[in-house]
């Protein structure tokens, strides 16, 4: 929220600097999660295991990029320095991206792609559901639209987890391998810092501990039906929210940002 007049001409107070910064970071985190996962899913375009899956995956990528745009536009407005959503997507460096580490992980085989989406969706849905009750009207509106899309994402990734896990010996093995490999990145989804604390106090964002309850329930239910074993919580690779990423993000950004870096301001 920027101080001034809203669309209906009502005056609203300038938030404290602290709240404004927290809100900016929060919007960036939400935007970056969706932007990076969308890019990963987009990498499958034209390479899907089946025509129908190719379309379904890129459909979900499009949903996510829509959500990313909503959050990055809001971030740009909150920042109020004249940057656009495109500037935020294409002109920030790796260390300035605040997405969770899970979404930048490589596509791997199809089980890994689906498993990454499943873990993300199981967290993303309850988060967006909670955000529909945000006291920040803009975030509540973005979340309200996202919830329907994300509900479908979770259903479809859950259905695949069940079919992989409870399918053939090979599909079960691949799904379990993917789950074991990605589990270390689930801790990063629930890391909370000052940003979350400030926004929770303002009623803008939920306590991620509550989201964890919903996440656990979904994961346990689906994995039980999929006959997959939930990995034990061991070392968790965190740091994404502070801009500390795995080795894969830089390569993705290099490709994603190439055009704007090589030809600054290019439009078409």
């Amino acid at each position: 929220m920027i101080s001034g007049l809203d669309r209906t001409g009502r005056k609203f107070p300038a938030p404290t600097m602290e709240l404004k910064e927290a809100l900016l970071t929060y919007a960036l985190r939400r935007g970056d999660d969706n932007l990076i996962l969308s890019n990963r899913l987009g990498e499958w375009c034209g390479h899907g295991p089946q025509l129908e899956e190719d379309i379904a995956l890129t459909n979900r990528a499009l949903d996510l990029i829509g959500q990313a745009r909503n959050y990055l536009q809001y971030a740009a407005e909150v920042e109020g320095k004249g940057r656009s959503e495109d500037d935020l997507a294409y002109l920030r460096n790796e260390r300035q991206f605040v997405n969770t580490k899970l979404v930048e992980q490589l596509n791997g085989d199809y089980a890994q792609t689906i498993c990454r989406s499943f873990l993300y969706d199981a967290w993303h849905l309850p988060l967006q559901q909670a955000l529909t009750k945000s006291t920040d009207e803009r975030i509540a509106a973005i979340a309200g639209k996202a919830v329907k899309e994300v509900s479908y994402h979770l259903r479809t990734s859950s259905e695949w987890m069940i079919r992989f896990g409870d399918g053939t010996e090979e599909s079960h093995q691949r799904a379990q391998t993917a789950l074991d490999a990605l589990w270390t990145y689930t801790g990063d989804l629930f890391v909370q810092d000052e940003v979350d604390a400030i926004l929770e106090k303002a009623g803008i964002a939920p306590d991620l501990a509550l989201i964890k309850v919903a996440f656990d329930k979904t994961v346990d239910t689906v994995l039980a039906e999929a006959t997959l074993k939930r990995p034990a919580d061991g070392f968790m690779a965190t740091g994404g929210r502070q801009g500390k990423h795995s080795e894969y993000l830089g390569f993705m950004l290099a490709e994603m940002q190439y055009l704007q870096r090589a030809h600054p301001g290019a439009t078409w």
Partner: protein, 97 residues
Amino acid sequence: MSENPNNWPLWEVFIQSKRGLDHKHVGSLHAVDAQMAIENARDVYTRRQEGNSIWVVPANAISASNHDDGGMLFDPADDKTYRHPTFYHMPEGAKYI
């Protein structure tokens, strides 16, 4: 393609564009089972708000008439125009009859 053991079964997709109307055949797709066929149909055939209900039917569950029998099956109707309800007037504003 159908000989490929890794190939998924074929499903025929029917979409209802509006409540109260019939489900119309829109095409086919491959999917591992009925549930996933509905999910895939949603992505392949309802991206532009084409409908609000989806049916999927295993393609091999459909029995079809033989094209070569067309003459015997359909031509006899050619000269029986009295079977067409052309003597009725459509009520004004009725779109779906």
